[in-house]
Structure formats: structure tokens, C-alpha cells
């Protein structure tokens, strides 16, 4: 199927950007509720129960709390950097989402006034090097924690940012290498092409199981999730890069983290699990929601089940296990492709 380039208008992009921003931050917020609930059930607890039915409005209570909390900037902090660091995390997370196709393209139904009949491409901007862009953006996100930790004049923060640098840089390598093999297969850097390829062939996970696993593992590290949340490991370094943050600035780190989780979820679905294509009778948009939701849930599940690992184990795993595996995978893929061709 030929890619139909949508009519790119400035207004359409802005509208889409705002919608993505609103929806994803809402989902990110809601994610915290889901996380608490899931963890609670896995630990035979109930989780939040008292604000709203089943604690549903806990999110709002938390929001109010974060917004109204005193905004503290430590005396010796570098105020400017301290102030913008959370924004970097949040912004990069959302910017990355701009090149990720969240939904299949669709036409707004006729009966809706004004917009009825308008064709809406699912992506804010289908950059043809989409994957590179997204990976690059997520890598840029590392400046958030890094700067935050260094700006706050706190040794836990400093340790946190050191760990940030080490962890993110290392795992960037694994992410990139692991996704190289699928790129080689599809021959494009556009997510839409990935989707379409799998629509025609079979899910890439079948061809590339190793790459899938490596990508997932690296994704945990990129999103700073257990078992790789050594950046702010409470038991070791208080709260790492976020030690001195409170209120909404602190909240922004979290919105960024949850947005990243969704991004990783979407990338994994689109690159490996067939993206937003129909699956038998299940419509495409439901499929993508289910897939992303599964990845989201999986991250929580892992958090409930597995322990943290030590920073040295982290590095060991990255450089001695994952990276070689990724390289071997690429080589094998290349050899097989050459043979097939």
C-alpha cells in the first residue's frame, strides 16, 4: 500500500500536538493510579481506596497536592538549571511521541459538524527517520536527570546524575543495536513502514526474538524502571537526582517517566508486535491499545516481582551480555538476509 502523505497543515499539527500532550499526560497520571493498584493487588493489598470510588480520584488529589506544594529550590543550587531540568525530561518525552504513530489513520465521521469527513493521519509528523528521531529524543531526555542531579548541590543528586550518565549512555548502545536488525529487515526508518511491513508479512518478533528481548531490557533501563531504577534508588541514594525536588517540578519527572513508558510500549508494539493493524476481527485501534497496555502492565508486573540490581551488575549485563548478543544478532540477521537475497 502506498503511503499517502497527509495534508500537513500547521493547525492540524498543533491540534494533534495538544491532543497528544493532554491525553498522554492524563494517561501518565492515570498510570500512577494503575501502578499503585497493580502493585497493591500483587502484594495482596487494596491500594488507594478512599478518594473517589475505589480511589479513582486519587489522581486528582495527588495533582492538587503536587500543584499546591511549596516549590523549594535549595540555596546552593544552580537555580536556572534546577528549574528547567524537569522540563527537559517532560519535553523530550513528549517530543519523542510526535514521531510515533499512535493510531491508524482515520476519517472523522460525517455526522460531526465542521470536521466531518476530514482525513486524519495518526501521526503528528511522519518523519522518515522516525525511529532515529525517537531514539535520539529519548536519549536527549537523559539531560533531565543529569542536569537535575548536578544542579541541586546535593551529593545524592550528584550520585544520581552520575548513574544517569552511565546507565543511559550504556543502554543507548543496546537499544540502537537491538533495533538495527529489524530496521535491516524492513529497510526503512519510518514507523509507518514498520507497521505496513508487518501488515503484509508477519510480526517481526517472530524473525527477531532476540532483538525484541534486548530492546525490552534496554527499554526498562531507558525508562528508569525496576530492576534498573538505580538513578533514584531510595534504599541507596535517597532519591537520586530527584532528592531536592518537590511539588510540580518533581511531578514533571514522573510525567516524563510515564510518557517514556508509553513511548517504549508503542515502539515495541509497532516495531515487533505488528503495530496498529487489525488482528482477525479486532480493530486496529483496539489492538494497539491492548499492546501498549500490556507493555505498561508488564513494567509494573516486573516491578512487583523482581529486585533491583546493583550498578556494577547493570554495567556488566550491558557490556558483557547484551551488547555482544545484539552484535551477534545483527551479524546473523545480515548473513541470513544475504543468503535469502
Amino acid at each position: 500500500m502506498e503511503t499517502v502523505l497527509p495534508e500537513v497543515t500547521a493547525v492540524g499539527v498543533i491540534i494533534k500536538a495538544v491532543i497528544i500532550l493532554a491525553v498522554i499526560s492524563a494517561i501518565a497520571g492515570f498510570g500512577t493510579y494503575i501502578e499503585r493498584k497493580v502493585l497493591a493487588f500483587m502484594q495482596r493489598r487494596l491500594g488507594p481506596m478512599h478518594v473517589g470510588p475505589y480511589g479513582l480520584l486519587q489522581l486528582i488529589a495527588d495533582g492538587i497536592k503536587l500543584f499546591t506544594k511549596e516549590d523549594i529550590i535549595p540555596a546552593h543550587a544552580n537555580k536556572f538549571i534546577f528549574a528547567i531540568a524537569p522540563a527537559i525530561t517532560a519535553a523530550t518525552a513528549f517530543i519523542a511521541l510526535s514521531a510515533v504513530p499512535v493510531f491508524p489513520d482515520f476519517t472523522i465521521p460525517e455526522f460531526i459538524p465542521l470536521l466531518g469527513g476530514t482525513f486524519v493521519p495518526s501521526i503528528a509528523s511522519d518523519v522518515n527517520i522516525g525511529i532515529l528521531f525517537v531514539l535520539g529524543m529519548m536519549a536527549a531526555g537523559l539531560y533531565g536527570p543529569l542536569l537535575a542531579g548536578m544542579a541541586q548541590a546535593n551529593k545524592w543528586g550528584l550520585l544520581g546524575s552520575a548513574r544517569t550518565a552511565v546507565q543511559f549512555l550504556s543502554y543507548e548502545v543496546v537499544t540502537g543495536l537491538s533495533i538495527l536488525a529489524p530496521i535491516m529487515i524492513v529497510g526503512s526508518l519510518s514507523f509507518v513502514d514498520f507497521n505496513d511491513y508487518q501488515n503484509e508479512h508477519i510480526w517481526l518478533v517472530v524473525y527477531q526474538p532476540v532483538a525484541f528481548v534486548l530492546f525490552l531490557i534496554a527499554g526498562f533501563a531507558e525508562t528508569n524502571r525496576t530492576p534498573f531504577d538505580i538513578l533514584e534508588h531510595e534504599a541507596e541514594i535517597v532519591s537520586g537526582y530527584a532528592t531536592e525536588y518537590s511539588g510540580m517540578r518533581w511531578g514533571m519527572f514522573f510525567i516524563g517517566e510515564y510518557a517514556n513508558m508509553i513511548t517504549i510500549g508503542v515502539i515495541a508494539s509497532v516495531v515487533f508486535l505488528g503495530g496498529y493493524s487489525d488482528f482477525f476481527f479486532i480493530p486496529a485501534w483496539i489492538m494497539i491499545i491492548l499492546k501498549v497496555a500490556f507493555f505498561f502492565f508488564f513494567m509494573l508486573w516486573v516491578r512487583a516481582a523482581w529486585p533491583h540490581i546493583r550498578p556494577d551488575q547493570l554495567m556488566w549485563l550491558c557490556w558483557k551480555v547484551l551488547m555482544p548478543l545484539a552484535v551477534v544478532n545483527i551479524i546473523i540477521t545480515a548473513v541470513v538476509m544475504m543468503a535469502m537475497a
Binding site: 497493591a40 493487588f41 500483587m42 493489598r45 487494596l46 481506596m49 508486573w301 516481582a305 551480555v321
Partner: protein
């Protein structure tokens, strides 16, 4: 006595068991083998399996461990010594306290005071009774000494209040008359022992 024995002299029966920990791998090959073994053994999935199992069972209401505290309370042991209660006689609804003053006497914090008087029915009436909970150490002596099982420790452990006096009057401690049927017989400190009958000698009665 050896040093080891000396150090352990206060420790109970010593039946500790040494775990057979395997040797750490020495050669590089051994290490690789260990990694492979551990990675492929799927132990990680066992963990995932456990958590998901718990989640499912919790979702279906089994094995839930949360008590929603202010709304739900767990039953407390009868031997727990919380704020006192004054019980009533089940048949007549009169309060049990006869005003003997033994609790007042035995209280080691000296925090019980009472006033008694000769009432219209020629009986001893407890006209006022109070425990100073600022001083009470909840030792339970009063409950133990009470010959009528009138003063007992209740299960009311939430004792934060704006005023210490909030619990301390006779009326505050007395079983409300409309809740007489809910009154529980005290099982705790000073209650009648189950074999009390065996220890009592009978007094002959001439009628």
C-alpha cells in the same frame, strides 16, 4: 566453657543448619556456564508467576490482607488492656460495681477515685467514679482485683483525645443501657478461671 558456648549461653536450643552454598565459579568458563544456567532456568518467570497469581486471587477477593482501619477493626485479644469499661449485670441492668474501693486501693498509679454514699434503698451507691487516664499505666490490677468483674479492660485502644477527661467518668465507661445485650463477658486479666468451680468449697445451707 568455650568462648562460643559463653557467647551463646543465653541462646535457646541451638538447632541452626548450615546451608550448602555452592562454590563461587573460578574459571571464566564456569562463570559463563553459571550465567547461562541462571538465565535459562527461568527463575525470573517464577517470580512473575507468583505475583500474577497473587494479583488474580486478590482481585477475586481471596487472600486480601488489608484492613480498612478506621472503618474496619480487627478483633483484639481479650488480654489486651485498653481503656476500661464498667459492666452491668445482665439481668437487672444495674451497674455491677458495688463501690468496694479495692480498685482504688490497688491502683499503683493512684489514679482511681470514687465517691460512695448510703442510698435510699439502704445500699451503697457509687455516686462518682473516675480514672485519671493521664496517670493510668494500664497495668490491669484494677480489673484483676475487682470482685464483681465490674471494672474490666475494654478493647478501646484509640485513646487520642482533646481532653484526658474524655473517657474518665463512670458514665463514659459504663455499658450503655441500650447496648446491654451486646455486652461481652470479660475474658482477660482477672476473669474467672475456667475451672473456678473446682477450687470452691461448698457452704452448707440449712434451707
Amino acid at each position: 566453657m568455650s568462648l562460643e558456648q559463653f557467647k551463646d549461653r543465653n541462646v535457646g536450643v541451638q538447632n541452626y543448619r548450615q546451608l550448602d552454598l555452592p562454590q563461587s565459579p573460578t574459571t571464566a568458563m564456569c562463570k559463563v556456564k553459571q550465567v547461562a544456567k541462571r538465565s535459562l532456568k527461568g527463575e525470573l518467570f517464577v517470580g512473575l508467576g507468583v505475583t500474577v497469581r497473587e494479583m488474580v486471587s486478590t482481585l477475586f477477593g481471596k487472600g486480601l490482607h488489608t484492613t480498612q482501619y478506621p472503618f474496619e477493626k480487627l478483633p483484639i485479644s481479650p488480654r489486651y488492656r485498653a481503656i476500661h469499661e464498667m459492666l452491668r449485670l445482665l439481668e437487672s441492668g444495674n451497674y455491677r460495681c458495688i463501690g468496694c474501693g479495692l480498685c482504688e486501693k490497688i491502683c499503683i498509679s493512684n489514679c482511681i477515685s470514687m465517691e460512695t454514699r448510703y442510698d435510699e434503698n439502704q445500699r451503697k451507691e457509687v455516686s462518682a467514679y473516675t480514672i485519671n487516664f493521664g496517670r493510668c499505666i494500664f497495668c490491669g490490677y484494677c480489673a484483676e482485683v475487682c470482685p464483681e468483674l465490674a471494672i474490666v479492660h475494654g478493647g478501646r485502644y484509640e485513646t487520642a483525645s482533646e481532653q484526658r477527661a474524655s473517657f474518665s467518668l463512670f458514665e463514659d465507661m459504663l455499658t450503655p443501657i441500650d447496648q446491654l445485650s451486646l455486652q461481652q463477658e470479660y475474658q482477660g486479666f482477672g476473669a474467672v478461671s475456667p475451672n473456678a468451680d473446682d477450687n470452691i468449697k461448698k457452704t452448707p445451707l440449712a434451707y
